[in-house]
């Protein structure tokens, strides 16, 4: 079932926002292939009629009253940001160059 290709690892790194050098991509391709081989044992289980469990204990959704509650102090939060400006997080540009004005 496994046999993960290097091209797939390049794609995964992109999806996971990991900027990895070539040798690391090759290294991970080998390791992920070995790990997937080992975990593929789950496919041996005949479980067509078995329901999936996403959570260990049965839970119902919980709500709270829709009232204002104190939140974190803005200055304290922004003091931990890599960059802040005018009371906001400052982030790198999110649009490509030469967007129409």
């Amino acid at each position: 079932m496994s046999a993960i290709t290097r091209a797939e690892v390049v794609h995964l790194a992109r999806l996971a926002r990991l900027d990895l050098p070539d040798d690391a991509l090759t290294h991970y391709a080998e390791q992920l292939d070995a790990i997937l081989d080992a975990v593929a044992m789950v496919s041996e289980v005949a479980a067509d009629d078995v329901p999936a469990t996403s959570h260990p204990v049965p839970l119902t959704n919980v709500f709270r009253d829709d009232t204002n509650q104190p939140c974190l102090a803005r200055a304290e939060v922004l003091a931990q940001a890599p960059a802040a400006e005018d009371g906001r997080f400052r982030v790198p540009r999110i649009l490509d160059d030469e967007e129409p004005a």
């Binding site: 993960i4 926002r17 990991l18 080992a38 975990v39 999936a52 469990t53 890599p82």
Partner: protein, 495 residues
């Protein structure tokens, strides 16, 4: 009087109640001990001397007024670095959070403060709790106080080593696949994974949200029960927090009795791959339980053999989603070429900030969740999870508790498995089923393996909400073992 740092929490509580010791004296003794030994052990990533002494002074002042104090008031505690603590560095063992000062306390930390327990500092761990040895910490490994060339277990190796090196009487851990129990086993200490939801996850930096559970680490069963009681309880800030009242765990220790109790040995958690000395000490402990009146039966949980595979699909899937928030935008590291766009900054930041194992698991999880593979991997793993739960349900219909060795081997040498992820994953083979099912488990020391003189742990597993059973059985076994040893096992550490 015994050396302060070698006392259990129970003894420290007694000494303070008698007026023989103050919390300030106790806290200072531990801070001095840390200064003396932690350069060799590296249990701590950060020591909060001022904060700890301030809480100690507060506890002493409260005692002087004659007020009714919480049971553990004045007893110091160490906290795994995966719990946020307002204004105190919190890294989860990762470079990506180096220097971050959280703006809020985890609920567990708030509980410790409310109990007037001085927090000595933050303990080392595998990065984002991924590992079984602390070797994946970005800040270097912790060393096992029994043999400093060996691993202290992981991910919570720092908390366990702090206890075994007498750098703290109590510690907080978190257990996603064994990260409390396996370090306890290899350091000769006690560690408990409560029922899922018994202790709040608010402020616990999430690894796998459906598996993560915080719990107590200690040098005795009774100490663990006291700490468990102090941190458990419903928290409206955690939507998966249990609403049920916390059982009286200290009473469970006091009243522990295994006469007439059916205790199940899990066939699948032993045999091939388990070190002979581990199995020998385990069998001797089983005999002691039988001597004390328990009925020992063998039970089979056939789907446990698929648990490791299911775990290493479910955990990376949840982790890849949880760790998406570390993107260099709001806190932590940012690697920014002035000209780069946001996606490039995120990818550079994550490549620089995450270690090898974290990247591996993020990509594994991304793969398991991706189109075309979801049903075969993640979907199938969730079905196995159901089957593991059914195995437990069938076994608990027949037995009060189940037992097994906590891990297949004693502490292995640093470096031995660090480049072999699959070998590292096998350390958790006996602890993982409990996390998949969400029930409760405890590890306690049952002796030293004859072949290497290193501690062996025994795991007790109980059904959901039956954490008290763990303490009852563990207290009986601990008492029986100490009768044969003449002293607690931990007295043999370092010599």
């Amino acid at each position: 009087m015994t050396d302060i740092v070698r006392m259990t929490a129970t003894q420290l509580v007694e000494e303070m109640a008698q007026g023989n010791l103050t919390s300030a004296e106790i806290t200072r003794a531990h801070l001095d001990r840390i200064a003396e030994v932690d350069q060799d052990i590296h249990a701590y990533l950060h020591v909060d001397r001022e904060g700890a002494l301030a809480t100690a002074a507060e506890a002493d002042a409260a005692r002087n007024t004659g007020a009714d104090l919480p049971p553990l008031a004045g007893v110091p505690v160490a906290v795994k670095d995966v719990m946020t603590m307002r204004g105190v560095p919190t890294t989860a063992g990762s470079r990506i959070l180096e220097g971050w000062l959280p703006p809020y306390d985890a609920t567990v930390v708030a509980s410790l403060r409310r109990n007037l327990m001085p927090i000595l500092g933050k303990t080392n761990m595998d990065e984002f709790a991924m590992g079984s040895s602390t070797e994946y910490s970005a800040y270097g490994p912790t060393r096992n106080p029994w043999d400093t060339s060996r691993i202290p277990g992981g991910s919570g190796g720092g908390s366990a080593a702090a206890l075994a090196a007498f750098e703290a009487p109590l510690a907080i851990g978190t257990d996603t696949g064994g990260s409390i129990r396996q370090p306890a086993a290899v350091t000769g200490t006690v560690g408990v994974k409560p029922t899922y939801g018994a202790v709040s996850r608010y402020g616990l930096i999430a690894l796998a949200s459906s598996l993560d559970q915080a719990g107590p680490c200690a040098r005795s069963v009774r100490d663990a029960a006291m700490l468990h009681q102090a941190i458990a309880g419903h928290d409206p800030r955690d939507s998966t927090s249990l609403a049920a009242p916390v059982p009286d765990l200290v009473a469970a220790v006091r009243e522990g009795d295994v006469r007439g109790m059916r205790i199940g040995l899990v066939t699948e958690l032993g045999g091939e791959g388990y070190q002979p000395g581990v199995e020998q000490r385990f069998r001797e402990a089983v005999d002691l339980l039988a001597d004390r009146g328990a009925e020992i039966v063998e039970v089979s949980c056939p789907n446990f053999r698929y648990a490791l595979g299911a775990y290493y699909l479910i955990l990376p899937s949840e982790a890849s989603s949880n760790l998406a928030k570390f993107d260099g935008m709001r806190y932590g590291l940012r690697v920014d070429d002035s000209d780069a766009g946001v996606e490039q900054v995120m990818a550079q930041t994550r490549a620089a900030g995450f270690g090898d194992e974290v990247k591996r698991r993020i990509m594994l999880g991304t793969y398991a969740l991706s189109a075309g593979y979801y049903d075969a991997y993640y979907g199938q793993a969730q079905k196995v999870r159901t089957l593991v739960q059914r195995d437990f349900a069938a076994a608990f219909a027949d037995c009060h508790v189940l037992i097994s060795p906590t891990c297949p081997t004693t502490a292995f040498p640093l470096g031995e498995k660090v480049d072999d992820p699959l070998a590292m994953y096998l350390n958790d083979i006996a602890t993982i089923p409990v996390n998949l099912a969400g029930n409760a488990a405890l590890s306690l020391p049952v002796g030293l393996a004859p072949e290497d003189g290193l501690p062996v742990g025994l795991q007790i597993m109980a059904p959901h909400h039956e954490d008290a059973r763990l303490y009852g059985v563990a207290a009986v076994l601990e008492g029986a073992l100490e009768d044969t040893w003449g002293q607690p096992l931990i007295e043999k550490v370092g010599g």
